[in-house]
Symmetry: C2
Subunit: 106 residues, 2 copies
């Protein structure tokens, strides 16, 4: 089964360490080792989370000498936000309807 892009994005976001890593990457590209530091994580632990982010298309990885440098790819976040935005419209619609009911009952 081909996994849906929204599936992998939301899955990647369902972990505080990975959300924290994305926040670090928002400040600029970083090595896997450095990404793990705030979480007192060794290379293997950090690499495991980076792999999930990479599979979701949220991180691009490249080698620079002995380091592996990660860069943020934010497109999937925009898609996830777009999906959630449709609910925003639904809430507004419900609020409009509620308002119409309230005004109609005056």
């Amino acid at each position: 089964m081909v996994e849906n892009r929204l599936d992998t994005t939301f899955q990647a976001l369902a972990d505080p360490t990975r959300r924290g890593m994305l926040a670090s990457l928002a400040l600029g590209e970083t090595s896997i080792g450095e990404l793990g530091e705030p979480f007192r994580m060794n290379f293997a632990g950090a690499a495991k989370h980076v792999k999930v982010l990479e599979s979701a298309g949220l991180v691009q990885r490249r080698k620079a000498g002995r380091k592996q440098i990660c860069t943020l790819r934010a497109e999937p976040l925009a898609e996830a936000e777009q999906w959630l935005k449709q609910w925003e419209e639904f809430w507004s619609l419900r609020l409009d309807r509620l308002q119409a009911i309230v005004e109609g009952s005056r």
Copy 2:
């Protein structure tokens, strides 16, 4: 460990069946059996997904005779959207910076 609300929301959204169930619930409250129908799912299968949605605070369940009626609770979706919105600001900031660089190099 107390699970973060964003963790459980994103986890619940990381499945196309559960996202479809939320879409059904957006049209109005529904029984667990009816929620499973579009996915050709039996009661047990549907109930499993509803439990995940309920744990994430996205669904409220009540008994009505022999049926279990589900209602959408959209607050966690708003919180998830809020979290994603901060990235939107970050993108705009990056675009502003890029624009400044481009304009500065003219």
